[in-house]
Every structure is written in C-alpha cells, then in structure tokens.
C-alpha cells in the first residue's frame, strides 16, 4: 500500500505531500520524504550511471527503512516525485507505471494558468487524480 506521495520542486521545496494513512504520522512521512532527498541528491551528483540510463527518470528504490520503502522519480526540470510504500516487494514496472501516471497528472496540474510555478499545488482535482492513481497502484499485478 502506498502511504505517501510527494512532489518536491527543484530547490527541494515541497510542492505537494499527501499521506494515505489514517494514523497521525504526517510528521514522520515528511521526515522520510525529506531524508530521501539526500539520496536523490547523491544519485544525481554521482553520475556513475552508464549511457543507457542517463536519461532515465525513474530512480528506483531510494531509502529502505524498517517500515517503508521510498521510490523516486526525477523529471527533466528537476522536480522529484517520491512514493513511500509499505509493500515489501514492489515490481519496478509497477513503480514506473505509477510514476508515469503521476507525472502526467502533475504536468496537467502545473499547466493550469492559475498555478504559480514553484508554489504548492493546491489543485483539488490533482489531489483527486493522485488518489485514484494511488488506489489503482498494484491492482495491475493482482489481476
């Protein structure tokens, strides 16, 4: 189950953070997401990747803690998408698929002429769309 998704701007400022748990662990998830940025920074700044993965946006598993796994995705504009999940084994394809949809939703949200770039995404429809994406996550594998 995905417990949290986040969009982080290119200056590492949070643009959108939504948790999908009932428990009051928002602070913890904030911390987890914040810490994961360290890992993203590290991966971006240490380009030991070879040529085929140079343009890869999906960053893979970033930060396995005892309870969560954090997956990351980096767009060309250095906007980061993060997904915190409690699932122990997530297929890469699923994560990729999720991030692709998430990215599309984000692009639509920031294309709104009333959206100020660099500000938090306040769009309600974006939130609703993300929720449906999150809910549909993993359902592809069970079928």
């Amino acid at each position: 189950m995905i417990v949290c998704v986040a969009v982080v701007g290119h200056q590492n400022n949070p643009l959108y953070l939504q948790s999908f748990t009932e428990a009051d662990d928002a602070l913890k998830l904030h911390h987890v997401v914040h810490c994961s940025l360290d890992v993203i920074d590290e991966r971006v700044n240490n380009p030991k990747r070879n040529a085929p993965t140079l343009n890869e946006t999906f960053l893979g598993l970033l930060y396995p803690t005892e309870n969560y796994k954090v997956y990351g995705y980096l767009t060309n504009t250095k906007v980061k998408f993060l997904m915190v999940t409690t699932d122990l084994d997530v297929k890469d394809a699923d994560a990729r698929n999720f991030f692709r949809k998430f990215h599309a939703a984000y692009v639509d949200a920031v294309s709104n002429p009333f959206h100020v770039p660099g500000k938090k995404i306040a769009s309600r429809s974006f939130g609703a769309r993300v929720s449906t994406i999150v809910k549909s996550f993993g359902s592809g594998t069970t079928v």
Binding site: L27, H31, H34, D38
Partner: protein
C-alpha cells in the same frame, strides 16, 4: 591508517587486556582508605604501561616486542555479570553529567551550517559519547561465553597488621568468596597467584612487614611474594600529593578527598611493583599458557586426521539444542581454544588468535552454540581489523556476529549493541561513514530510549561526515535522537539535538518539520526555565497557518504560558501574529486635497485630477501666489515630502490578517511616531537627515521603548480588534499632530492578548527606489510628513443619496457642507463627474417641496434654462456657487442637488468641491472630494415608433411600447411630453373616451398609440386650445398635475440625455424627443412620491419630404346602365421640406397583383429618379420575367376601373406649400375599389447644393389605399 593508532585500535588495546583479580583483607583495604583510595584505585593508574618494551614469544619461534601494555585490576567481588539496572544507572550518570556541561551551549545561538562544517571531526559528536560507548560495552564484562574478561592472575593482598598473614592468604582464596566463574567451572581455577604484604608506615616500623615477607617467601614461593609500603609521609599534605598524582589523574582517579599520605617514594614503589608484576609474572605466564594450549590444540585438532575425527565425533554426538548451546567447561577443547585465542589477542598475536577463532567458529556452528559463535565471529572480525587485512572479511564477520546476536533474542541484544559499536567504529576508521551511521541506527533500535538517543546522535554525526554530506539525514537522526532524549527525560540533550538540526530545515520551506522542531525546542527551553529563548523559538511557529486547529491552539497556549511565566510584557520585533500586510499600507494625509470619507481616498488620483482640471488654479500660478505671500518658510520648496495640517488626523490604512484558525485578541494597535518641532530654514536638510535616521531605524531595529508617545506634540489613536480565524481586516490608524514640525511615521505597535507587544517598523526601501528615478510611484510610502499650520477644512456629504435607484428616478437632494475650523472659506466651486445623473439646483430650490415644485401651475412663467451653459459641459459639470457665499467657521451650509438615474448600471459618481481660504495660509485653496456609488436598476423600457399618418397631413401616429423590467415594482404612467413647442401630442381620436392604462405591473408590457401633430408650421390656432399641447396627461388626475418639462431640472437632464443618446444614434432626418414621466406605485402610501422621468430622444420621423392625401367622394351612386361612372378625386400634395420639389404622379391601370409587384421591383432598383417609361412596357418586362401566367391574366381580365385624365402629371412645389392634382377615374361596374395604384415620383431641387443628402434627393411614394364604393344608382 594503522589500525593500532585508530580510535578502535586504542580502544581494543585498552579494553581487551588481561584482568587481574584482586583479593584484599579488610585491614589492607583500611590502610589504603587513609589516603582516600581503595587498593584497586591506588594501583590502577600504574596498570598502563606505555613503554613496557618486553619481548614476547608465543606459538611461533619468532619473538616480538610489546610496547604498550595494560592490565585491568578488578576486585574479585566485581567479577560477575553486570546487573542490567545497575549498569544502566551508571550509563545514565554519564549522560546526565554531560547535561551540566551543555547548559552554556544552550544559551548561545543555534549552530549554522558553516559552524558545523568547519568543526573538527572529533568535536562533531560530543566527547562524552565515547565514554558512553565504553560504558555501554563494559556492561557486558565478565560474560561466560568470552574469556578475555576472565582473570589471568590473582593478586592477594594482606596487611602487615593482619594476624597470621600466611593463613589469611589461604582464607582469601577460599572458594566461597571467589567469583562464580571459577566455581562453576567455566574457567580454570588454577591461575597465577601473586602475594602482597601491604605495610602502612604510620602503623609502625617496616621490620614487621619484612618479617612477614620472609615467612611468606618460605611458604608460598620465592618469586610470588612482594612487600609494598604506603603512607610514608608523616602528615597529610594535599598539595604535594596533588602534584605527584597529577600525571595519573587522567586515568580515572577522581575520588580524591584531600587527605593523602602517599609521597613520591610510595608512588615510585607502587610503580615498580606493577612493572615487575606485569613484565615478570603476567606476560611470561600468558606466554607459557599460550604455548601449552597451542600444543594441546595442535595435537587434538590440527591435521587431517583430527579434523575427520572431530567431524565424526560431533555428528554422532547429537546434542539437544539448548538456549545457549551446550555447556563448555574449562577443560573442554572449545574453551581451551577460546582461551588460546583471547590470550593471543591480548598479546597481539592476531594471526594466532584469528586461526584459533576460525577453528572454533566451525565447532560452535556445528554445535549450534550461536552466542559463542557470534562472539568468536566478533573477535575474528576485530582480528581482521587489527591485522588490517581483508576489509571484506572483517565486515562479513561483524555482520555475521551482529545478526547472530540479534537472532538469539533478548540475551544477545546487548552483545549485538557492542558488536555494532565496534563495527561502526571500524567503518568510521575506514571512512565508511554512511555504513557506520546505518549500523548505529540499527543498534539504536535494540536499545532503551536513552541509549538509542546517544546512538542516533552518533549516527547523525556520521551522516554529516559522509561524502557527500547528507544534511537531511543528519537532521532527521538528530530529531530522532532528540525525541529519544526527551522520552528518557534528558531535556537538555533533547534541546541540544533539536537545535543542532534547526539549520537543516531552515532553508527549505519544509514548514511542517520546521514548526515541529521550533515548537519542541521552545517548549523544552520553557521547561528548563530559559523563557526568553523559549519564546524566541515559539515565535517562529505562532503564525503557522497551515497547521490544524488543535496544533495552532497548542502552539499558542504554550506561547502565552511561557510569556506569562516571564512575568513581564514581552516586546517582539516583527511579531507575525497578526500579520500586517505592509504592501497594503497607505498613508492618507490631507494637504490641499481633503476627502469626505475613507472610500474616497482609494479612488485613483488621476480621476480626481482629471475632474478638477478646470476648477483648480494651475499649479504654477498657485506657487507664485503663495510664494509671494510666504516667501521664506515654505517647507516643501525643495523636497517632495508630503504635507499635513496640524490638528488634522493623518490616517494610515493597513490590512491585518490573522493567519490562524483561532480568533486572536489584538489590542492597542497604534502608530509609532516621532514629531520633531525644530523646524527652521534648514528644514529641507532636516528632512533628508531624518530620512537617514529612518534607515538606521530599519536596520538597527531599536527596541520599542525608545519611542514614547509625546502627548504634547501629537496624539495617536488606539484600536482594539478581535480577529476571527483566518480573518482579514482593514484598519485605520490615526495620528494627529498638534504642532508644526516634521512628523515621522516609524512603525506600528500592538498588543497580542494583553501579554505580548509586537512592533514593526516601516521599511523605507521604497524611498530609495523612487530616488533612483521611479518617481511615478504614488504608492511608495511617505512616512515623513511636514506639519503645517492649521487650516480651515470643509466636510460635506450629500444627504440621502440613494445607493439603489430605478432608472429614471428623479430626486431633490441636499448637499450639506460644514466648516469645522474657525476661519471662513470663500469662492466655492463644485465639479461633478456625471452631470447626466446629478446637477446642482438653484439657490431657490432648497425650500421647494418636491415634486410639487415641478408642476406647471406653480410657475407658469417659466424660467427656461438657457441651454447653452449646460450644453457645453457635458463631460464634467463645473458649478460655481454664488460669489457672495462664504461659509463661516463652524457654520453649515446646504445646497440643493438634483439627482436623476439616467441609465441602468453601476455608477461611480465623483464630486469635487473647491474652496479658498479667507485668510492667507500656507495653502491657498483646498478641495473636498467625495465619491458615491449608485446602482441604477432597470425600471421601464420605453420605445417609440413613429409612422406617418396616411389620412391626415402633418400628423404622425406614435406607438409607445413600455416594458416594466422590474421584478416587483409597478409604475403608474403620468405624463407624456414632446419636447419643443413644435409638436403637439394627443390621444387618437377614436381613443378619446377610453381611459388609458394607469399602472404597469412588474414584468408587463404595454403599447399605446398617440397622435402627434406638427404645429410648428401651421398656425398656432390649434395649439392654443389645451387639448393638443406638447404635454399629455396619462393619469386620471387631470391637466393640473402636469409637470413642467421645459424647466430645470427636467430640461437640464433632458439636455444631458439628448447629448448622450444623440451620441449613439445619429440620424439625418428630423428628430423628436419624448419625456415620459411615471410614478412608482408605492405599496404603502406613506412613502413620499417617487417620480421617474424617462427621456427618449431623437426618435426618427418619416423621411419623406412630401405628404399626399387623396380626397374625393367615398360613396358614389351611379346608374351604370347609362354610362360608365366617372369619379373625380384630387390628390393633395404638401411639401414639408425647405426645398423646391418637382413631382410626378403616375397612375397605372391593372390589377392589384401587378401593382404589388412593381414597387418591390422599383425599390430594388434603387433611387431611380424619374421613370418616364410607359407602364405597359414595364409591366410586360416584369411579367415576362415572372412567367406567362400573370401576363395572361392581365390580358384576359378587364380592369374594373381605369384612370383617365392623365397617366402622369408634373407639378412643382414650393417649400411649405400645397398643391392639388385633380384625378379622374372611370369605373365600369359597381363595387368597392381601392385606388391605390398610383405612384408619386419626386425629386428635390435643393436651393443650395449639399444640404440634402442623397437618400432624400428623390423618391417614389406608393399610393395609399383609398376605397371608393360605387353603387348602382336607381334609374
């Protein structure tokens, strides 16, 4: 890096060392107590040998030299497994001791990124954490699965005062008192024993001791007995002792209680004893033991045969799995290998140790003795490290040990921690900080909160050291550590940890985390009683708008709690609660421009300037005028500083926002001002000077206390408000200067909930910008004002100007002016932006009763308003009050104002009053600006359609369509008037008796028909009788109720309407204006009569310049048996234009059908002018085009009548003249005929070219229907 020099290396060299078990008699112990020490304490400083330099030969033949060596002296009673609670207490002590040291740090500012980065590596983590780690490791001492804590030797100490010292030695080594390790058979009780006689010099001469020693030597062995003399100084001399002890202080000798009888000789003696003990007894013993054990192991385990045997033996012996694996006594080969390994490790023969550990680990693995297996793995990991070989192997061993410890559950937990600590140190030594931190993090999960806090803090430090630096993880782990500290009641440490993390979250807007950190830091400071810092941190979170309601109230409550705890009012610069929106700041000062209300201030200055353009004297003129009168002390000669008037309030509008969801109580909002009265000739300099100090204020931000309200010079208003959750209010603050000078608006202060005083200074950066050339910025804050002498000031308003009105509403209002000062004002003028809606009345109108004053009978001799003045000023209406009007000080003044809601829509009405001062002042004139917003609702839509009357000359039929657009109101029609004397309006003759529709209810529409007659050209005979005047009363009230439309104000408004409507519709033809007056039907009659006047201007009349009419008998009786009937009719033609017209009448015979087709064709062919063609041809042409059928019809059917006498006639008509053309029709059969099949073709001959446009130049008129009934007459 040499592993021996690394921290872990040194740690291992000091901690994994031979243990010497100490057994003392009470008397020996008492002797040591004299100097305030225990025996072990006395010896332990000398148990570390930095340069022992002894040769060692272990299993191999190659000897090597040991440099540093250490032995651990432990009382036998302490050799047991540690009680967990006691151990934890001891660790807690370490942490809380460090507490006290952190206190001064906490008062300093929290560290910034640079501070942390520039710190040396060792200081990143507090030094006491190392001590903590050692203490944590030490809690595992004397465990039964490891042997390096097992005593290597035993030191038995007897005092020279003891009776029968020899037997005492035997008693000491009594099994009852020995540690359980020896008794339980875990370790070999046959260990090296060393005997010592302790002699206290103060108890007597040394001889007794020497005797005892001799006795001992004879019985216990020559080499194993020693004599030690202490307390040889005669009296206690603390200072000397202090000096001699100084070098050893570092080794944990703290309990120094002043009295010390040890002198330097004693210390040297102890030192020599220890040196001898270590190098001559312990090390040789260990060497020997290693060799013996190695031999044993080699015989039983080494070699192929032994291995096979071992495997077979273990397989057969299927031991049931116990919790700690099988029990191994000291005689078992496994224990012996372990002892061999540990001894070799202690003597630094790591190769030997490692080979034995490896051997052992397979055995333990097969035996499933997991704890022992893990222990051996751990040691082999350390061996790998010390050998600086294969890092991979070392890590593999440590990880293996760690996970094995964890797997066996609670009993291995602490071991796992120790293993983790060593592992982490190992990784740190190799620079693998990230891995180290994750190890720290892993072990922190296994420990109670206090321990995990310290471990997490170390993990955090590792993240900081790792490359690249991982600041976020550093912060996160510090937060976790802080939280754990807090849980274990170590608030100071908690604060320290959180504070160190602050800078991580500062830069990025991770407000959620930032708030949490600040809040907790603040709260804990508060708990610690450091309120000022607590409040400083809480201030950061007080204005958090994004948190939930409960969180916000929690923050706020704690904040107020701490503020109250300080017991005084707290000044806060830039308090964020409530938020003053500085960009909304607006200073309203009145110089020559005064405003009636606050709303008027917000109107753009350009609107006012445009409005006042013609009214106020041009600025250059003004300047010379008052420069002449007041040449010297003009304060605004050079700078552009604003001016305000003493005694008049300077207002400052600002938006206040409450970011929280809780309502807050803000009281005493007032301005901080300074008024300097030292105004002289150099006031301009003063202005710039004060601007400079202003910048200082903004940068230095002095305390609020430096500004005190000076009651003599000015007064400031104070405002109390309650802001609801999320509410934004616009507030107005005032300062009223009382004396002349320079007023500076410095800032705002306010009190939050009666406890916190917030203040904020105005930023003056905008001023700099304007200096650089952006001079057009009106919005820049003028916070320096020049106060000038008091001036007269008018205030005014229009009494009961409606905010909502129906279209057409006509009202008489009053403009009330009041002069508040003592001086009179004169030369009052007024300018109105929309004279279509508002025009000033005359002085006489004031007393009139509305609407009776408008009625005709009141003033029949009309003072018709001269249209020229109003016509000119349609755009803005400048009205000068009579010159003799002066408004004296304190007097009020009223003037009538007419209001007419002309068109529906929202209207902003601007009024500006100009007045001059009676006495000479700094400013010669002032203006009073007011503005009103009026919403005009649609009421009646009136439209007129005029068509020519076909039966009368010079008469028109008017259709008036009225639609009531309102939803609920109904209106009664009162009067319809044509403007001008030329026209007379009357009801249709047939409708005379029918009463007109009186009221039009909501959403209904009505059409009425009227007749209007042009009486301008005719003689005024008809106009004389009242029936056909230009006004027509529609209500049953009679003609007495007629309103005078050619009189002010209706006429004035009509001009305005005409101007505005005329702009929209431009027609060439003659135009007609109507005014419809209606009354609102009030639901209750008590309401005063409401009058609506609707002006419809420039209704287009028919374009034809000629009128024609057929005259003749309508009924003819004729005997058709005799002949055909001849009817004489005449066509009366009137030329109403001002030009000559030539005109032709063309008659045509034929059916109606044909006639109908012709005009359509004619009109389609455009203004053709003359048609001098025979009609027959024309018809043929048309019919041939249309087809054969009509042609056939025309040829076959016989027209029942034919025009005779002429087929076309030509007439020339002079302007305004009439002509009659006789026509004759032959009728062949009785019946009713329509003689409309004729056409009039006319052409205008303009007297001057170009006066008539092309459309009216020529035309064709189709004949009107004229029915004649022909009857068969009697014979």
């Amino acid at each position: 890096m040499d592993p021996l020099r690394s921290y872990l290396g040194r740690l291992l060299l000091e901690d994994i060392t031979p243990v010497v078990m100490v057994l003392t008699t009470p008397l020996a112990e008492a002797a040591c107590r004299r100097s305030g020490l225990s025996f072990v304490d006395m010896l332990s400083p000398f148990s570390l040998f930095k340069k022992i330099d002894v040769p060692v030969r272990t299993a191999s033949d190659q000897p090597y030299r040991l440099q540093m060596f250490k032995i651990r002296m432990v009382y036998a009673s302490d050799i047991h497994k540690q009680d967990h609670e006691v151990a934890d207490e001891r660790i807690k002590l370490v942490v809380s001791e460090a507490n006290e040291k952190t206190l001064p740090d906490l008062l300093a500012d929290p560290p910034q990124l640079e501070d942390v980065v520039n710190k040396p590596e060792a200081e990143l983590c507090p030094l006491w954490t190392k001590r903590f780690n050692r203490e944590l490791i030490r809690t595992l001492s004397f465990s039964d699965h490891e042997t390096f804590d097992h005593p290597v030797a035993c030191l038995l100490v007897v005092s020279s005062k003891d009776k029968e010292p020899i037997s005492k030695f035997a008693d000491l080594f009594n099994t009852n008192q020995l540690p359980s390790l020896l008794n339980e058979g875990i370790m070999d009780p046959q260990i090296l024993k060393h005997y010592l006689v302790l002699h206290d010099q103060q108890d007597g001469p040394q001889e007794i001791a020497v005797n005892i020693l001799a006795e001992m030597r004879s019985t216990l062995g020559l080499n194993d007995c020693k004599l030690l003399c202490i307390n040889s100084s005669a009296q206690a001399h603390g200072s000397d002792a202090d000096n001699s002890w100084l070098p050893y202080k570092a080794h944990g000798l703290h309990n120094h209680e002043g009295a010390c009888f040890l002198n330097t000789d004693d210390l040297n003696e102890i030192k020599d004893f220890m040196q001898d003990f270590a190098s001559n007894h312990i090390i040789p013993y260990m060497e020997q033991k290693i060799r013996v054990l190695n031999q044993q192991v080699a015989t039983t385990r080494k070699g192929f045969r032994n291995q096979i045997k071992n495997l077979w033996w273990r397989k057969r012996d299927d031991v049931p799995e116990a919790a700690n694996g099988p029990m191994y006594t000291f005689t078992s080969i496994e224990s012996q290998i372990r002892v061999l390994g540990d001894y070799a490790f202690m003597l630094r023969d790591y190769e030997l140790a490692l080979s034995n550990y490896r051997l052992l680990s397979t055995d333990y693995k097969l035996d499933k003795a997991w704890k022992r297996f893990a222990g051996v793995q751990e040691m082999s990991g350390l061996c790998y490290f010390m050998l600086d070989q294969s890092r991979k192997d070392a890590e593999y061993c440590m990880e293996n040990a760690f996970s094995t410890y964890l797997r066996i559950g609670s009993s291995g937990q602490r071991n796992a921690t120790r293993c983790g600590l060593w592992w982490a140190e190992m990784l740190t030594t190799r620079g693998q900080h990230r891995e180290a931190s994750s190890v720290y993090f892993r072990i922190s999960n296994e420990e109670p909160s206090l321990h995990s806090a310290v471990l997490l803090e170390q993990a955090a430090c590792c993240y900081l050291l790792s490359s690249p630096r991982m600041l976020r993880k550093y912060g996160f782990h510090l937060i976790l550590a802080g939280n754990s500290y807090y849980l274990s009641d170590q608030k100071q440490h908690a604060v320290r940890a959180y504070r160190n993390a602050l800078f991580v979250y500062k830069q990025n807007p991770w407000s959620y985390i930032n708030n949490h950190v600040h809040y907790n830091v603040g709260r804990w400071y508060g708990v610690l009683g450091i309120f000022d810092v607590a409040i400083k941190h809480l201030l950061e979170v007080v204005a958090c708008s994004h948190q939930s309601l409960t969180t916000q109230s929690m923050f706020l409550n704690d904040f107020f709690h701490f503020v109250q705890s300080t017991g005084k009012k707290f000044d806060v610069y830039k308090l964020q609660l409530p938020v003053f929106n500085m960009s909304s700041l607006r200073v309203v000062h009145e110089d020559h421009r005064t405003y009636a209300s606050n709303a008027d201030v917000d109107v753009s200055e350009s609107i006012w300037q445009e409005l006042e353009e013609e009214m106020i004297p041009s600025s250059s003129v003004v300047r010379t005028n008052w420069l002449d009168t007041q040449p010297k002390s003009s304060p605004f000669k050079n700078n552009k500083a604003s001016v305000c008037v003493a005694g008049e309030a300077v207002k400052l509008n600002v938006e206040v926002k409450n970011p929280l969801q809780i309502s807050v109580n803000v009281s005493g909002i007032s301005l901080i001002c300074q008024l300097s009265t030292t105004m002289d000739a150099s006031s301009a300099e003063k202005g710039t000077l004060s601007a400079a100090t202003e910048e200082d204020i903004a940068t230095t931000k002095p305390s609020i206390l430096t500004f005190k309200s000076d009651e003599n010079n000015f007064t400031v208003s104070s405002l109390d408000i309650v802001l609801g959750g999320g509410e934004t209010k616009r507030i107005q603050l005032e300062v009223t200067p009382k004396v002349i000078g320079i007023l500076k608006l410095v800032g705002i202060r306010w009190t939050l909930s009666d406890s916190v005083v917030g203040y904020q200074y105005f930023e003056v950066s905008t001023q700099k910008k304007t200096k650089k050339g952006k001079r057009g910025a009106h919005r820049s804050l003028n916070n320096i004002l020049i106060v000038i002498k008091a001036l007269p000031k008018l205030t005014g308003y229009i009494d009961c100007l409606p905010t909502k009105a129906f279209t057409g509403d006509l009202q008489l209002l009053t403009l009330n002016l009041r002069n508040q000062s003592e001086h009179a004002v004169k030369n009052v003028k007024m300018k109105i932006s929309h004279p279509r809606f508002v025009i000033p009345g005359g002085s006489s109108d004031l007393d009139l009763e509305f609407p009776q004053c408008l009625r005709k009978h009141v003033q029949s001799d009309s003072n018709v308003v001269s249209s020229k003045s109003t016509k000119e000023k349609f755009k803005g209406f400048l009205f000068a009050f009579p010159q003799d009007i002066k408004i004296q000080g304190g007097a009020t003044f009223s003037w009538p104002i007419w209001f007419h809601a002309a068109t529906p829509g929202n209207l902003s009405l601007y009024l500006s009053l100009y007045y001059e001062m009676e006495s000479t002042t700094d400013i010669p004139y002032r203006t009073l600006r007011t503005h009103y917003n009026v919403e005009v609702l649609p009421s009646l839509d009136v439209s007129f359609a005029v068509s020519m009357c076909s039966s009368r000359l010079q008469e028109y039929i008017v259709r008036m369509d009225i639609m009531n657009r309102t939803l609920s109101e109904s209106f009664a029609l009162h009067q319809l008037s044509c403007v001008g004397t030329k026209w007379a309006v009357s009801t249709l003759p047939s409708c005379d008796s029918i009463s007109l529709v009186e009221t039009i209810p909501a959403n209904q529409s009505v059409s009425c028909f009227f007749k209007i007659k042009d009486i301008g050209t005719n003689s005024c005979a008809e106009a004389a009788d009242g029936s056909c005047g230009s006004d027509m009363v529609l209500s049953p009230g009679g003609s007495t109720d007629v309103f005078h439309i050619s009189q002010s104000p209706i006429a004035d408004f009509h001009y305005q309407e005409r101007y505005h409507q005329g702009k929209l519709a431009k027609g060439p033809s003659s135009l007609l204006d109507f005014i419809l007056i209606a009354k609102a039907v009030a639901a209750n009659s008590s309401k005063s009569e409401q009058l609506l006047s609707h002006h419809t201007c420039q209704v287009a009349l028919s374009q034809n310049p000629i009128w024609w009419l057929m005259e003749g008998p309508r009924t003819i009786t004729h005997d058709f048996s005799k002949s055909c009937c001849e009817a004489n009719i005449q066509l009366v033609i009137h030329n109403s234009s001002e030009h000559n017209i030539s005109l032709g009448v063309v008659t045509s015979d034929g059916t109606l059908e044909k006639n109908q087709t012709i005009p359509s064709h004619e009109s389609a062919s455009g203004p053709g002018g003359w048609y001098d063609v025979s009609l027959e041809n024309d018809v043929k042409a048309i019919t041939s085009m249309k087809g054969t059928h009509p042609q056939k019809q025309s040829s076959e059917s016989i027209s029942p009548f034919v025009w005779c006498s002429l087929s076309s006639a030509q007439v020339d008509l002079k302007p305004n003249s009439s002509a009659k053309i006789p026509l004759k029709v032959c009728i062949f059969a009785p019946g009713t005929y329509n003689f409309s099949n004729y056409e009039l073709h006319w052409k205008v001959h303009p007297s001057e070219a170009g006066q008539v446009d092309d459309n009216g130049r020529s035309g064709v008129g189709q004949g009107y229907p004229f029915y004649v009934t022909v009857l068969q007459g009697a014979r």
